[in-house]
């Protein structure tokens, strides 16, 4: 099936898609490896930021600009700044002397095999006669992405995720209150 056929009207055809996909994917994989192999925590954090930014690029390629924007603003801009903030305040000299890897070969092998098996299963098996991955693309135009997400969340007729959205925000509130309670001795 020609992927261009599903493009909504008024959208430009994608440019050099496979090139950018491999570029971003390679950036993510290299960044991810650097995160666990660097001894210095700041270097790890910066590699993680690179990975997250490349992931935002992948979201853009999936015609989901809103998710990409939120990825940048929340993960790369917000959470990672707090990470760096905390890492700077702890003693790096002691952290560098500590053991970096846990030698848990058995568990690691099991986890790796399970994940690899899952990937292979997803690519090969068909459930009830149809592939898990639909051919072609999502039909949401990138020009309407934000509005579509809003409709999915809040619209009176099509909105179906509002309750779960609010539940998630309640979870965050619990976490915030917990942090305040733990930090302050007397409230």
């Amino acid at each position: 099936m020609n992927p261009m056929a599903t493009l909504p009207a008024g959208t430009n055809p994608p440019v050099a898609t496979s090139f950018f996909f491999y570029l971003l994917a390679a950036t993510m994989v290299i960044g991810g490896i650097l995160v666990i192999t660097r001894k210095n925590a700041i270097h790890s954090a910066m590699a993680l930021i690179t990975t997250l930014l490349a992931q935002a690029g992948l979201y853009l390629m999936l015609y989901a600009p809103f998710v990409a924007g939120v990825q940048i603003i929340l993960y790369a801009g917000g959470i990672m700044v707090l990470f760096l903030f905390v890492i700077m305040l702890i003693s790096l000299e002691r952290a560098e002397k500590e053991r970096q890897f846990n030698k848990q070969w058995l568990l690691g092998t099991v986890a790796a095999v399970a994940l690899g098996g899952l990937f292979i299963a997803v690519y090969t098996t068909t459930t009830r006669g149809k592939m898990l991955f639909p051919e072609g693309r999502m039909t949401y135009g990138e020009t309407q992405n934000t509005q579509q997400i809003a409709a999915l969340l809040f619209d009176r007729s099509t909105g179906q995720y509002m309750f779960s959205f609010e539940i998630a925000s309640l979870l965050l509130l619990v976490a915030i209150i917990g942090a305040v309670v733990m930090a302050k001795k007397r409230i």
Partner: protein, 432 residues
């Protein structure tokens, strides 16, 4: 081959889209270069203007030696900075130290991809425009934090910690003010809301009201929150604690010298221009000319479209006036000729801007730049007027004043905007 290329270049000229929206790579590159060059010139001009205006506010002369009235001072500064030795401290983390200025510069320049200088004069128009601008400009904190840490020195580390705490705190209030504007774009029966920078200005055009005046005083309060938060966000006086020179020497860039320091300088000023253009786009009608309602009509349109030319002619006249006032001494001969030549160039630009074909294309860029320039003057004015805040006062303003006000503003905007629907619902409850 050349024919088809010329056709490709010409095919864009009739379209009513941005180069990114039309998918024309040639014009996108042209626009990127234009924005980059224009931004660099604006930063150079800001450097000179800030020193001159601050000096005049303090009854001094400011730079007077290099060129007439110090006009060539920024160029002299730039040459000095480029010739300086580039020092990396011995105990510094060299790689991170090397990367940090580039992160800041990249973040500061990338946001200009979506800044709308006119309905078609933007590099591209994204569906997530304002979200993109806020997200990418928040990445510059990373550069500042890593710069402070990599210097491996106390002043930069404290400066970087202060800076990140400050920027993270004020981002919250800033975001709330921005969201209230996004609500305003959707509170119109004819249109759905939008995050696109061009869409926000078009919503103001369609509602025949700049958002600073909408739901008075709600729009004004939102603008006020943003105007305070943006000064803190760019680390400028009176919120310039990260580089408080009396306590921290120069804050996070104490250990930087030469070219790398000038990158921080460039990033700071282009970030100032970027947040100013967010404020202009969201509240002050972007590229729209002033008084769209009171002074409407074709005649006024013509009058307002003459403004760019008149501005340049006025600048030229100022140049000639000062040429006549130059000391009549042989030593000042070169400077006098130079200033007169500068005046001639400005006058010629002014005359070119009167040509109808140019005028139509340039008016919107002019009004956008003029509004941004107003904000840049405000930045200098703040610096000349206000004493620096203490850090606890800064945090108090951010969390205890701006944040609650922003939250209340958001809820009130939603209520006022949906008042007819709410009223109908209430009546439905009372009379089922």
């Amino acid at each position: 081959m050349i024919q088809s290329f010329i056709q490709y270049v010409q095919s864009y000229l009739d379209s009513d889209k941005t180069p990114g929206g039309a998918g024309n790579i040639f014009w996108a590159i042209v626009y990127i270069l234009l924005v980059f060059v224009g931004l660099s010139i604006a930063v150079i001009a800001m450097n000179w203007l800030e020193r001159k205006i601050l000096a005049h506010m303090q009854v001094r002369l400011g730079p007077m030696r290099v060129g007439p009235h110090g006009l060539l001072q920024p160029i002299a500064d730039a040459i000095k900075l480029l010739l300086k030795e580039d020092i990396i401290p011995a105990e510094a983390d060299a790689v991170v130290f090397w990367i940090a200025p580039f992160i800041v510069v990249l973040a500061a320049f990338t946001v200009f991809v979506v800044v709308p200088f006119g309905p078609t004069h933007a590099i591209t128009d994204m569906n997530i425009g304002i979200l993109f601008m806020l997200g990418v400009s928040s990445l510059s904190v990373l550069g500042i934090v890593t710069a402070g840490w990599a210097s491996n020195s106390h002043y930069p580390l404290i400066g970087a910690l202060r800076s990140s705490a400050q920027m993270v705190s004020y981002e919250v209030a800033m975001g709330l003010a921005v969201v209230s504007v996004i609500l305003m774009t959707s509170l119109n029966a004819t249109s759905t809301g939008t995050l696109s920078m061009i869409g926000i200005v078009q919503a103001q055009q369609a509602q025949a009201e700049w958002f600073i005046f909408k739901f008075f005083p709600l729009g004004l309060i939102g603008f006020g929150i943003f105007a305070i938060a943006m000064v803190a966000e760019t680390n400028r006086a009176p919120f310039d604690l990260p580089e408080a020179e009396s306590e921290l020497t120069a804050g996070f860039h104490t250990e930087y010298s030469g070219f790398r320091w000038s990158l921080f300088f460039l990033a700071e000023y282009s970030a100032m221009i970027a947040v100013s253009s967010i404020a202009v786009t969201l509240w002050l009608g972007g590229w729209l000319r002033p008084f769209p309602n009171a002074l409407a009509g074709a005649t006024w349109d013509l009058v307002f479209s003459l403004f760019p030319g008149i501005t340049f002619l006025l600048l030229a006249i100022m140049c000639f006036y000062n040429t006549a006032r130059m000391p009549k001494h042989p030593l000042f001969k070169v400077q006098t000729i130079g200033l007169a030549g500068f005046g001639v160039v400005l006058g010629l630009i002014g005359l070119i801007l009167f040509i109808p074909a140019v005028r139509v294309r340039v008016t919107d860029i002019f009004w956008f730049s003029a509004k941004v320039a107003g904000f840049m003057y405000l930045y200098i004015w703040y610096r000349g007027t206000f004493p620096r805040y203490r850090f606890d006062q800064l945090m108090k303003v951010g969390w205890k004043v701006l944040l609650p006000t922003g939250l209340a503003l958001l809820i009130l905007t939603a209520i006022v905007g949906m008042r007819t629907e709410l009223w109908a619902q209430l009546q439905g409850v009372w009379r089922p």
